[in-house]
Structures are given as C-alpha cells and as structure tokens.
C-alpha cells in the first residue's frame, strides 16, 4: 500500500481518549522522508499518547497511521520494522552490559550472529564505548545512556527514528550534545525523525515544526517560516498561551 506522503510518515485524523478524557483530537500530520520534525507541546499536550499510537503500544479507534508506505493497522510488523524508537523513560536493562543490551535489541529485530556483531561493534565505536562494552549500563551517565539508546534504535538501519522527549533528566551540556547528535544523524543518514519536546531551544529553524496543544495539532510547517521574526519561545507562547 502506497501512502500519500511518498513513504514518509503520515498521521490522518487521529483521535484518542482515555475514558472520557480526550488526549488526541483529529490530529493530522505529514512528515516527508529525510525530515527532522519537532513535535512541540507542553506537558499533557498528547505527545506521549501520539508516540504510543505511532509505536502501536495501543491502537486508536479513529484515524490512520502510515509509516514508510505501510499502514500501521494493516501491516504492523512491516511498519514497526522500519522504525527505531527512543522512549522518554530509559528502556535499557541496567543490570545487563552495554553489549548485552544491544544484542538483545538486535535479536528482537531479527539480527543475529556476525551481522549483529558487526553492527554492534560499529555502534559502540561511534559511541566511543568499545572499551566499556562489557560494563553494566548502570555505570553509564545520563548522556551516555541516551546515546546508547539512540545507537541501539539505529542498529537495524531503520528509516524512521522516533524520540519521545529524549533529553528529559539530562544536564544542559548533555542535552545540547544529544540534540546536535540527532540533527547530525538526520542530515548524514537521511533519516526521518520525529522528536517530541517541550523545549524550544532543541529546535532548529530548518526543522519542520508541529505544535501540539491540548490534543490538537494547532500549527505545522517549517520552523523559520512559522515563527517569523519572533523567538520560538514567544511564538509558542502566542500560539498556545503556555510558556515553553
């Protein structure tokens, strides 16, 4: 099945409620291939719900999600196989070593043996963690844990990388480092990236910006064009009435 987004990521009329509480209301969003899209919204805007639906942790009764030409409802495995995900909370097993964590993830995506080892070695090399690969993840600092999770999410060479507030809990230096790292990845590997955040300084002018507020997508477009002459934080305040 071919999507209208030329194999990017498309969300069409997505609505979702927790009981009587509406979390997402008729959200539609298209991200072209190779684009870095920042999903900006205050806490409680519905970002994590949108991530849960995009990663099929649960499904919405209304709306449609198409990832790389694959309808998530009809072909969930094909859609998920193209996706790397970094969740807000760490999903590393802190009692296992860095290499064991990477091997586990690789196997969940069907990678085993020499191919898996080659990819893991390359990832460790990029992270400068080759010498520490047999240390438990518990010994890593917050920034390294996040970088390991990002490297892990890319082990199976996905075309899409979804990150749900990946800088939460990091200090300013680590936050800048991770933000720059993922922007570089988008440019170097032509990845389609969805980056959820509530912090405007993580967004570049060249990024696609989608503003989510109270479950509704209220703005979408190129960041530089949307904000005009305003600083992004002021633009966000104007759009939502909520400081970022």
């Amino acid at each position: 099945m071919t999507s209208r987004s030329n194999n990017g990521l498309t969300v069409e009329h997505l609505s979702f409620a927790y009981g009587a509480t509406k979390a997402l209301d008729d959200v539609s969003l298209t991200i072209a291939p190779g684009t870095f899209c920042a999903l900006l919204g205050p806490n409680g805007a519905g970002k994590s719900t949108l991530f849960a639906l995009l990663t099929r942790l649960f499904t919405a009764p209304e709306g449609r999600i198409v990832i790389g030409g694959q309808d998530l409802r009809r072909a969930p495995r094909a859609a998920l196989a193209q996706m790397g995900v970094v969740f807000q909370q760490t999903t590393l097993d802190l009692d296992l070593t860095i290499r064991q964590n990477l091997s586990y993830f690789a196997a969940l995506h069907g990678l085993w043996g020499r191919d898996a080892r080659r990819r893991i070695d390359a990832a460790l090399d990029r992270l400068n963690l080759t010498d520490r690969s047999r240390e438990r993840c518990r010994t890593l600092n917050g920034g390294h844990k996040r970088r390991t999770e990002i490297a892990r999410a890319l082990l199976h060479s996905p075309r899409f990388l979804l990150l749900d507030e990946p800088t939460v809990g990091l200090d300013a230096a680590a936050r800048r480092d991770i933000t720059a790292h993922v922007h570089d990845l988008a440019a170097e590997q032509a990845l389609t990236i969805l980056w959820a955040t509530h912090l405007t300084d993580e967004i570049a002018d060249s990024d696609q910006l989608a503003v989510l507020h109270r479950g509704r997508l209220i703005r979408s477009g190129l960041c530089a064009e949307l904000r005009g002459a305003l600083p992004l934080s002021d633009y966000f305040l104007q759009a939502t009435g909520t400081p970022a």
Binding site: T55, L57, V85, F87, T90, D93, Y104, A106
Partner: protein
C-alpha cells in the same frame, strides 16, 4: 527465523537477569526449603498419610509435599515474573519488547517460556537439595518431571501474564499477590491430600478440586514417579489455554487494558 532469534534473545535475557539477581534466586529457594525442612519435619507426626496413587507404600510427609513445593516455586516465580512485567511496563523495557516487529502473542509466549525455564532450573536445584537431605524420588521421575514442570510453569506464568495486563500499577499488584498466591497455594493438594481436606469440609474440598494449581501439583506428583495423570494434564493444559487467551486479550493493542493515563 526472526521469530526464533527473538525467542532465543528473550530466553537469554531472562537467564542473564537471573544470573545478575542471585539474591532473588536464593530467596526463591529458601521459601520451599523452609517448608520442606522445618514445616514438614514438624508436621510429620501430626499428619497421617494413607497409600494413594502414585505412592506404592507409606511415605513421609516430606516426600508428600515435594511436588507441592515445586509447584510453589513455579507459582511464586510466575507471579514474580508478572510483577516484573508491571515493573517493566512502568520502567519502559516492556515497551521495547512490544514494539519489536513480531506478533505480540509470540513476544509474550517467548517471555513466558524464558521465565518458566528459569523456574524449572530452580525446581531442579530444590530437588537436588532435597535429595541431599535424603528426600529422594525414583530416578526416572526426575526426568519425567520436566514436561510436567514446563506445563505447570507455563500455566502459572500465563496466569501472571493475564494478571499483569489487568493491573495498572505496581502497588495494586501487591494486593493481587495476596489474593492469588495464598488462596491458590493453600486451597490445593500441595500441603495435604484432598481426601484429608474432605474430612474437614466438603466445600473446601470442592474448591481445592477446582483449583488449577491442584491439578498442576498432581501432574508434577505423578510425573515425579514417572506416571502420567491424564485428567490433571488435561485440566492444566485447559487452564494454560484459558490464561494465555486472557493474557493475549489483555495485551491486545486495541484494548485499553495496558494503557495508562500519563
């Protein structure tokens, strides 16, 4: 092939977690050993046991409760594994598993199988310690017990899985442990034969007879004597299918059961 790769990875991860959490392993062994070496020794004189299948002769109380204590290991581990699933879900690693590009039922079965194999290993260590204390069983029984332990372990793990899908938060789970583990264990043939229970109360006997854990224990008891208890096997398999069905239903992404309001 990718299915088997994922299965192997999940089982290996369970094994590695087990190696890293040796205190959990010891705690899981201490519980049945206290029952075997302390409680059973004290009860030996108080509880007379007649010759009932699979026993061919009079047996000591220690011998009688060995299958029930294997069941206890499987029961506690099944529930503990479910507890870890709730914890995993709260901490995020369950999300990683559930977003793998494989059918969700396969991922859940793989997780269940990994946890059950670890439980079986603990059962054999327990049987080994019992053997060292001269509480011995027929040699063939040790081998024949494996499939019985596997089926019983899968059944109890599936129950835990089903419960974990229904429980939203860890603190709720503690209550369920009390309402599931203790009634299941005490209302079964693990510690006393059902005919003994019937002497006290017909109602309690009937409840015990309907308890799937009773059938799991009887399946293990007969297997330890290299005998097949077909009704127990049938009921245990049926309970496994029902609990698995409930777990798959609970973890179905279209249902609301694993959602949490964030």
């Amino acid at each position: 092939m990718s299915w088997l790769t994922a299965l192997a990875a999940i089982v290996i991860r369970e094994a590695l977690r087990f190696i890293h959490q040796r205190e959990r392993f010891l705690a899981a062994l201490v519980r049945p050993l206290v029952w075997l070496l302390v409680f059973a020794a004290g009860f030996r004189a108080a509880l007379g046991l007649s010759i009932t299948p699979p026993y061919q002769t009079y047996i000591t109380y220690e011998i009688y409760i060995v299958p029930g204590l294997c069941g206890m290991i499987l029961l506690f581990n099944g529930m503990q594994s479910a507890l870890s699933l709730v914890y995993d879900r709260e901490m995020g690693s369950m999300r990683l598993l559930l977003t793998a590009p494989l059918p969700r039922w396969w991922l859940l079965v793989s997780k269940l199988l990994g946890a059950t194999l670890i439980s079986i290993l603990q059962c054999y260590v327990f049987l080994g310690i019992a053997w060292a204390f001269d509480i011995t069983l027929p040699a063939a029984g040790y081998l024949a017990a494996f499939p019985a332990l596997l089926i019983a372990g899968l059944m109890l793990g599936a129950l835990g899985l089903a419960l974990s899908s229904l429980i939203r938060q860890l603190e709720n789970f503690a209550g369920v442990m009390n309402f599931v583990i203790f009634p299941m264990f005490f209302l079964s043939s693990a510690l006393y034969p059902l005919w003994k229970m019937a002497e006290s109360s017909r109602l309690l006997h009937d409840i015990c007879a309907a308890n799937p854990f009773t059938h799991a224990v009887e399946l293990i008891r007969f297997a330890l004597y290299a005998e097949a208890n077909l009704p127990a096997l049938g009921w245990t398999l049926l309970a496994t299918v029902v609990f698995l069905g409930l777990a798959f239903w609970g973890y179905d992404p279209a249902r609301s059961l694993i959602r949490r309001k964030r």
